[in-house]
């Protein structure tokens, strides 16, 4: 790679590194794994930098990140096994609950990789739906439906009675 390209790559990493790592932490819920994913995505970018830099390198890195996070999720996910009918519902102590924000983060981490990626790109990176679709390689309609389902699951997973309206809950 020419020196000019090297400098441009360094500037790109300096400008976007924190943002990409934060996005990756939200995608995989693990700092070390997030660093590995970011380095892997940037390595691919570095390998093809002359071509990638002519387009939208940050979108390229994000796409690599999301794909790697999805692969990791598929390899390591735990599976739910429904049991029998309700027999001993626990009591809820509202005073002792986590703050809504903590609960939201934990609930976010339990979403399927695709839904989580949509929510992270849409609400953390503030990407418009069209850009999210481009990163994920899907349609805008798919982004909308995944975001809607993800938010519905967050709403259902997190106790928001005290702070958010419950109208429009999706079963």
């Amino acid at each position: 790679m020419q020196e000019r390209d090297e400098r441009a790559f360094e500037e790109f990493v300096a400008r976007t590194g924190d943002r990409l790592l934060r996005c990756a932490v939200l995608l995989v819920a693990d700092h070390a794994a997030a660093e590995d994913l970011v380095q892997g995505a940037l390595e691919r970018t570095y390998r093809h930098w002359p071509r990638v830099s002519a387009g939208h390198p940050e979108a390229y890195v994000r796409r690599a990140l999301v794909n790697a996070a999805a692969s990791r999720w598929r390899r390591s996910r735990v599976r739910e096994v429904p049991l029998g009918p309700h027999d001993q519902a626990g009591t809820t102590d509202h005073a002792d609950r986590l703050s809504t924000r903590d609960e939201l983060i934990r609930a976010l981490m339990t979403l399927p990789a695709r839904q989580r990626a949509v929510l992270v790109l849409r609400y953390f990176d503030d990407l418009p739906e069209a850009e999210v679709a481009a990163v994920l390689g899907c349609s805008v309609g798919s982004v909308k439906s995944q975001a809607s389902r993800g938010l519905a699951r967050l709403r259902a997973s997190v106790d928001l009675h005290s702070s958010l309206p419950m109208t429009g809950r999706t079963p």
Partner: protein, 400 residues
């Protein structure tokens, strides 16, 4: 309807990651990683070329014993002649091409070679293939809630990375038809055909888009085997790997280790256990006391009702073991871990999760690894501080 939720989510994500920074030399680390991988790729290609040259010039096929050197034997030796093995050494620091033929039935391979897959020996692999690591315990792809053993092997040809993966599951195994039904449901794009492997009926599956394929068959009562591969490995390669597997016996677990592992899991994942006692069985657990106490206060149902069932224990090496567990609890305050699809189950019902737990032998005895504990108790270990300090470095990562 969800503007408030969106703003809460946005703020929560920013709060959670505000302290996360990439470090000053990320670009340098990336560059060094790129160069390291490039060296490995070149070394792998060089080794593969060297192997091809040897094979094509001498009409030989590489064979490899359980040792670290490879042996060259005639591909089809005359029954009347015996050829002395010729050692071929590989350059230090380069991936060893693990190319193996004609292993005797019952050959024992060290688990670290990746070629012992839960008592099943991999005796032949395509040229240029290297082990991706020791064999590992995994959730069975064939029977929900069962433990399987898996080894992955990698290869590179023409700039493409291929793989061979061998999976063995002992115990109660489903019928081939049931395996096919499950695989069809999980992967609608996969195509299926019937074939014969090792004289047994088998499934031949293909995922054309990814150029991947697999064979699945019931080797005998209580053992289901699978060999999967992706190009540049060919279907013929995959079939030969399958045909040349050697089947030994089910891995033996030291009863002392088994008991200690089960006791540690029960100590960590049983409701009503004190924080101190719980964390005494977690690797570097003492630092997690404040987080665990807060977590239990926030989820009293979980704190009271959590139970663990250990389905199986598999040794990984002298200092690590993997256990397949189910956690059950009733707590409507808990997020819905791992729910499938887009349905939202009833949170007031008891929930159960299958998971693989990694245990590590420390100076304190067998303990649940910190990684496993943090992943199964999401919220106890803050995301931004999951990266361990050198003194508290977790010694394991979860099995893939």
């Amino acid at each position: 309807m969800s503007a408030d939720l969106e703003s809460h989510l946005r703020a929560a994500m920013r709060d959670e990651t505000v302290r996360v920074t990439a470090g000053p030399n990320l670009a340098g680390a990336v560059r060094e990683r790129f160069r390291r991988h490039r060296r490995r790729r070149r070394a792998a290609v060089g080794a593969a070329v060297a192997v091809l040259v040897v094979v094509s010039s001498a009409g030989l096929t590489l064979a490899r014993s359980g040792a670290d050197t490879a042996e060259i034997r005639p591909a089809r030796p005359s029954p009347a002649t015996a050829t002395a093995p010729v050692a071929v050494t590989t350059p230090v620091g380069t991936p060893t091409p693990v190319t193996v033929t004609t292993g005797a039935a019952g050959t024992a391979f060290p688990p670290s070679s990746g070629r012992d897959v839960g008592g099943v020996g991999v005796t032949w692999l395509p040229a240029g293939t290297s082990s991706a690591g020791p064999s590992a315990a995994a959730l069975s792809p064939f029977t929900p809630g069962a433990l399987a053993y898996r080894s992955n092997f990698q290869m590179m040809a023409g700039g493409r990375v291929g793989f061979v993966a061998v999976t063995a599951q002992w115990g109660n195994v489903p019928t081939l038809a049931a395996v096919e039904d499950d695989m069809r449901a999980a992967q609608p794009q996969r195509t299926f055909a019937r074939t014969t492997v090792r004289g047994r009926s088998a499934l031949l599956t293909r995922m054309d888009a990814k150029e991947e394929f697999s064979l699945v068959w019931i080797e005998r009562d209580g053992l289901v085997l699978s060999v999967a591969a992706g190009t540049p490995a060919s279907e013929d390669d995959m079939r030969r790997v399958a045909e040349e597997l050697t089947v030994g016996s089910r891995p033996h677990v030291d009863p002392t280790v088994d008991r200690a592992v089960r006791a540690a899991l029960a100590q960590v994942f049983t409701g009503g256990t004190s924080t101190e006692r719980t964390l005494a069985a977690v690797e570097n657990g003492e630092q997690l006391a404040p987080g665990l106490e807060r977590y239990r206060a926030q989820h009293p149902g979980l704190a009271r009702t959590l139970r663990v069932t250990v389905h199986g224990v598999a040794p990984r090496d002298a200092a690590h073991a993997v256990a397949l567990i189910s956690l059950t609890y009733t707590d409507p305050t808990m997020p819905l871990l791992g729910a499938r699809g887009d349905s939202v189950p009833d949170r007031d019902r008891p929930a159960a999760y299958d998971a693989l737990a990694v245990l590590v032998r420390t100076g304190e005895g067998w303990q649940v690894s910190r990684d496993t504990f943090c992943q199964l108790s999401l919220g106890v270990c803050p995301l931004a501080t999951t990266r361990p300090s050198p003194a508290a470095a977790p010694s394991t990562s979860p099995p893939s």
